[in-house]
Amino acid sequence: MKGPLGLAWRYVLFHKAKSLILVACIVLTTILPVAVKLLVWQFDQKIVARAASTPSVVGAKGSSLDLVLSALYFKQGAVEPVSYAEVEQARGDGLATAIPLHCMFTAMDYPVVGTSLEYFDYRDLGVGDGTLFVSLGDCVVGHKVAEMLSVNVGDQLISDRANVLDLAGQSPLKLKVVGVLGASRTPDDWAVFVDLKTAWIIQGLGHGHQDLNKESPDSPVLIASDSGRIIANRGVVSYIEITDENVDSFHFHGDTDEFPVTAVLVSANGFKEETILQGRYESGDSEVQFVRPEIVVRDLMTIVFQVNRFFNANAILIGGSTAMLLILVVLLSLRLRKREMETMFRLGCSRGTIVWLQVGEMGIIFGVAMVLVLLGSTWVWSVSGDIVESLLVNSR
């Protein structure tokens, strides 16, 4: 580089610390609002797209947002469960396809979603490796779960205890990974899918244990055995893993229609059917609600954008303050360099060239800062999808 720009470049290089501080000021002031903007935009795109692909959700009355977040992002503990009978009722008239969702537990901190095989067609999810679950104890892991936990088909995952201090509570269940989903860049990448019955077993509503019919009458686990009625003590071995050998011993106590699901995805067969369904849920004293996720999410985004406006105003104020600080630094620098400028003028340099020299220095600093902001923004953009998904899925 020659001429004033060459001098400017050498000045910037010579005053490394000052230049770096100025660059850092500009980068930090710029990258933060840009990154937030990108994340909010990505958040908007992701959450609206997910909501738009889910026509309607049925769940317990209460916060419609919590219900939507539970159904779309597997957010746990947010909603009260409804009975499985609601699924059957939604299916019953042939008005819609109803898919149950059971999101109450985690495995290695990732949500375990109990559902039916219809879910995968509904979300257009393909298996990247292996198969979908076919029997109790099988699980299919999302693409990101497999990546983060380094699990493959044939590996095992252990469900987390609902409460680590509850030693007498339900034992964790070993889940056999039978499939890994292909990347979908949706919350499904971050979940572990099991059959609904497997989810109920994790919850403790069903279990398997040693066959007491095969025990001898003097077995220490038997309290009484009388004409086909067997009473055992707590020494009975309960299985924490479902295998081909013990799968037949797993059973449920109670009416499965009363078993819980956290939400029901409802895909009506048409607009008319959807309206009928909605009317049915919204009339009378139904204990469930029928929500359209897209409407709920757009309401949420309205609030998000309003909050974002405050953030934008804050960013403008900080940007203004930084700009004034930079002007002050430049003015002080000009004062310090008065003799240098005077010497250049005496040698035969024009005032215009001196101004160009200053502009060049600031231009280089701004240029470097903008390149860094661009690189940073590109990086934020590349990971924003994952960040938004993981935030939404993991915000338990």
Partner: protein, 237 residues
């Protein structure tokens, strides 16, 4: 080479006025201008180089009337025809020795830049004993070395006139003589006219002429001034 006629100059709101009826410096001549601080020596150099303009009178350098030129022409004329050496060296702190020498080419695009100028700068530095220090910055040089760099910078454009303002003012006695000899040697080699402002009477030997601003006299170096010559007048208006 330099011809000044009926020159008058006064800074705004200042009492001091410089009056110089006539001063002629021939090509290749080495002239020292002496006098106490404030008598107008540096102002005269500024007038010759066209940094400031006279109130009245004419200043001709290399046959061109400096005060009649436009600002841009004067700047271009100054950088091409006049080399300047300052008492405080005035090197650019963030440039290394080589780029300090080449500074005139960086700040004025009218100078014909060529690949040869870089070689010439290296030759100058070599002649000044700075060959090993081309990549050093001014802060890494001694004062004598800094002044040598400043001299190289003044001569790199091969100007017709070299104006030096107290070039030895910040140097120790040993370096004073050395620097002055170098200036003489290089100016003679390129047949350059040399005007040196100083109030150091100990360095006057070697000059062709000495102009005593205070006594308004011109004399040959080493002689007592005789009294009647072209007169330079610095007085209170």
């Amino acid at each position: 080479m330099i011809q000044i006629e009926n020159l008058k100059f006064q800074y705004p709101r200042a009492e001091f006025m410089l009056r110089l009826p006539r001063l002629v410096v021939e090509a290749g001549q080495r002239v020292a201008i002496v006098g106490p601080s404030g008598c107008g020596k540096t102002t005269l150099l500024n007038l010759i180089s066209g940094i400031t303009l006279p109130l009245a009178g004419t200043v001709q350098v290399c046959g061109e009337e400096v005060s009649a030129m436009s600002d841009a022409s004067r700047r271009n004329f100054r950088i091409a025809k006049i080399g300047m050496v300052f008492q405080q060296f005035e090197l650019v702190e963030y440039l290394d020795v080589l780029n300090n020498i080449l500074l005139p080419f960086s700040i004025n695009s009218t100078l014909p830049g060529s690949s040869g100028m870089r070689c010439r700068a290296i030759e100058f530095a070599e002649a000044m004993g700075l060959k090993e220090k081309l990549t050093r910055r001014p802060a890494q040089l001694s004062q004598g070395e800094q002044q040598r760099v400043a001299i190289c910078r003044a001569l790199i454009t091969e100007p017709g006139v070299v104006l030096a303002d107290e070039p030895t003012g910040n140097l120790d006695p040993e370096n004073k003589r050395r620097i002055l000899d170098l200036i003489f040697q290089l100016a003679e080699k390129q047949n350059q006219t040399l005007v040196v402002v100083t109030h150091d009477m100990g360095i006057l030997s070697g000059f062709d002429r000495v102009v005593d601003f205070e006594k308004m006299r011109f004399s040959k170096a080493g002689e007592k001034s005789s009294g009647s010559v072209d007169s330079a007048v610095g007085d209170q208006a």
